[in-house]
């Protein structure tokens, strides 16, 4: 109990509360601008968190991302331009409601059920994390090796597009992670004589490049997008929601649970959670024919799901140090910078910090209701800012943010290189998330792999000798084999049909 009180004292300080409020406003702004994602909001915030204490730093990211995921629904509803990929699943229904003259019905459902999903995910995070952390204390390098491989495998197979292109992305990230002196032998790798590269690829400028600069390049190519004047939501944003809660309690619960579970899966995030939940909602709906015509049912389920996923993604991040999605991948970098090494030991050495994170999550999801209401009301102004004005300013923020990490122009160079790589990857349908997970998890994978190989004297059988390691190993192999088997089965002609 004293830990919770200590944690509350860390959070309920005027400075931290002010930071939460400001980052909420920032998250709302970024989420509401089409093309700017929650991950981009996180990447842009990292240089600012660099100068904060751990609790306000984490609060900044948690609040901004929770807000950005919800705020992505605003342009989706009003302009049919989803602000974040997580809002894309149900944009058709939300926009159909706007066309029917009822944007408040869509935005209200999105706001309230985002908050419900976020709180559900947080409660699971609070209850599951300490239990999992106790189990994780028994893990050796073999279990961690399989856990990392499983996370990377899920990132490849869950990411949009072909798994082969996902693998290419993963190898780009893993290769970038090998650069520098950080390896078991302490030997310089791929540094080309550069002293700055000996420290490895700076994670934050690489993130800013992959997400923000690649988007800036795209906008320049398209020369900005014309912004249509949005519809203005009427009154009664909250009025319908009690009725929705009574009509769709199963959908709200199922969306929250599914979102938390998908978020907790390493590599999967809010985007995938929203798509899967929307599909499930339609599958089990009594009126599937209404989906896409302004039906609020799918919106309730997927809206709850994407915010629940955001909380769920923190479970593997805090317990194992393995990010659940791109955002928690960035968060892990921030935690390391702050001297907090995510993993089971943090629950023993700094429990007040963990409880402070939980409190921040609850606060962020509660504060979303009044701030979301304000954002919906002010959406017309935010949505009217043209991208052609915004993008050059964002580019400058990117450069200053990348510079601020080490007070060196080298960070801007890293940002530039990864910006071009990110642009080329997305042009070629190569997903970015596996590359980020590869970059973040590469050192952990290498350390556990080499340690395990030395311990086992080169024997791969040792990777399956401990029960949890064997279970994780077999599960990982299944993740790889099942898609291959399905591919082979699909290729085989049905019995009785001869090949031409």
């Amino acid at each position: 109990m004293s830990t919770v009180i200590d944690a509350a004292q860390l959070v309920f300080q005027p400075y931290v509360l002010l930071v939460i409020l400001c980052s909420a406003a920032f998250g709302m702004f970024v989420g509401a601008i089409p093309g700017l994602t929650a991950t981009m909001a996180t990447a842009l915030l990292v240089p600012v968190t660099f100068f904060m204490d751990p609790v306000p730093a984490i609060a900044t990211i948690v609040t901004a991302t929770a807000m950005a995921i919800f705020a992505g629904d605003i342009p989706g509803t009003m302009l049919r331009m989803p602000g974040t990929p997580a809002s894309a699943a149900y944009v058709q229904d939300a926009y159909a409601l706007t066309k029917q003259g009822r944007p408040e019905a869509a935005l209200g459902a999105s706001l309230v059920f985002s908050s419900i999903g976020g709180i559900f995910g947080t409660l699971v995070l609070i209850t599951a994390s300490p239990v999992l952390a106790e189990i994780a204390l028994k893990f050796s390098s073999f279990e961690y090796f399989w856990l990392v491989v499983l996370g990377l495998s899920c990132a490849v197979f869950i990411s949009p597009g072909s798994p082969a292109r996902g693998l290419v992305a993963l190898f780009i990230g893993l290769f970038a992670a090998t650069i520098g002196l950080e390896n078991p032998a302490g030997a310089p790798r791929y540094t080309m004589g550069s002293v700055e590269l000996m420290g490895g690829v700076q994670f934050i400028p690489a993130m800013i490049g992959l997400f923000a600069v690649s988007e800036v390049i795209r906008t320049f190519i398209k020369r900005g997008e014309e912004v249509r004047p949005p519809a203005t939501p009427g009154k009664g944003i909250f009025r319908q929601q009690a009725k929705n809660l009574v009509t769709y309690p199963v959908q709200a619960l199922r969306g929250s649970a599914m979102g938390t579970a998908i978020g907790a899966l390493p590599g999967a995030g809010a985007d995938i959670a929203a798509w899967i939940s929307f599909a499930i909602s339609k599958k089990f709906s009594k009126t599937p024919e209404k989906f896409g015509t302004g039906h609020v049912e799918g919106l309730v389920e997927a809206g709850a799901s994407n915010n629940a996923a955001m909380s769920g993604a923190w479970i593997p991040a805090l317990v194992f140090g393995i990010p659940g999605d791109s955002i928690t991948a960035i968060v892990i970098g921030v935690l390391y910078i702050k001297g907090i090494n995510p993993g089971p030991m943090v629950f023993i050495t700094q429990p007040q910090m963990i409880y402070a994170v939980f409190i921040v999550f609850l606060l962020a999801n509660l504060i979303m209701l009044p701030l979301g209401w304000l954002a919906i009301k002010g959406a017309r102004q935010v949505l009217s800012i043209p991208q052609k004005v915004l993008m050059p300013v964002i580019l400058m923020f990117c450069m200053v943010g990348s510079f601020a990490i080490n007070n060196s122009a080298f960070g801007i160079g890293i940002m530039l290189v990864f910006g071009v790589i990110g642009f080329l990857m997305e042009e070629n349908d190569i997903p970015i998330a596996p590359a980020i997970l590869g970059l973040v998890l590469g050192p952990m994978l290498e350390q556990n792999f080499v340690t395990s190989m030395i311990k086992s004297d080169g024997s791969f059988i040792a990777f399956f000798e401990r029960p949890i390691a064997a279970g994780l190993g077999l599960f990982t192999i299944a993740v790889w084999m099942i898609p291959l088997l399905l591919l082979l089965l699909r290729r085989r002609p049905p019995a009785g049909v001869s090949e031409p």
Binding site: P47, V48, F50, F51, S162, A164, R165, L167, V168, F171, L174, F175, T178, N183, P184, A185, G186, A187, R189, V213, V216, I217, T219, F220, I221, K222, R223, G224, P386, K388, V389, M391, P392, V393, L395, M396, F397, M399, V400, F403, A404, N407, A409, I412, G413, M415, L416, G419, V420, L424, E427, N428, D429, G442, E446, F449, V450, M453, I454, G458
Partner: protein, 157 residues
């Protein structure tokens, strides 16, 4: 501008081979068989296998070289020029900010960026000036980031 699976497979295979060759010289931990080269070699191996898989799959599906589907924007010299302009703006900031200082360079970079995107010049100048001062005040003064200084608007520092 999308490369086909066959082309990407070839590039991936070549990448895997290049990583493997470059990793041969990395040292092992003294007295051990593993070390700095273990991870790059493992990455090279799976990269090469992925490349091979992509090539075989693409060939079986009847794909032929050359495998590059150009996007619409690649047909427009103006769009390509705008792409290059982003990279030039970043390089220009890296090169000029230590000489001219943060504020003039930032104002110039943002103004030129907005002009390229066809924002009216006076709006571009005003927004660039306000944004540069806001960034300088928040990062330079509040967060104490040592942004390159200059005499231009020196009272702000």
């Amino acid at each position: 501008m999308r490369v086909t699976d066959l082309t990407l497979g070839l590039l991936t295979l070549l990448g895997g081979i290049a990583i493997y060759i470059s990793a041969i010289e990395f040292q092992a931990i003294p007295g051990q068989a593993y070390g700095a080269g273990t991870m790059p070699r493992a990455v090279a191996l799976v990269t090469g296998l992925t490349g091979l898989f992509m090539i075989v799959k693409a060939v079986m599906e009847g794909e032929r070289l050359p495998g590059l589907n150009l996007a619409d924007w690649t047909q427009s010299p103006a769009a390509i020029a705008r792409l290059v302009s982003v990279l030039v703006l970043i390089v220009a900031y890296i090169a000029l900010s230590p000489v001219l200082g943060f504020l003039p360079t930032a104002v110039a970079v943002m103004t030129i960026g907005m002009l390229i995107l066809r924002v009216r010049w006076w709006i571009a100048v005003i927004i660039a000036l306000v944004a540069a001062i806001a960034i300088q005040q928040s990062f330079g003064r509040l967060l104490l980031v040592p942004l390159p200084r200059s005499d231009f608007l020196s009272f702000l520092w």
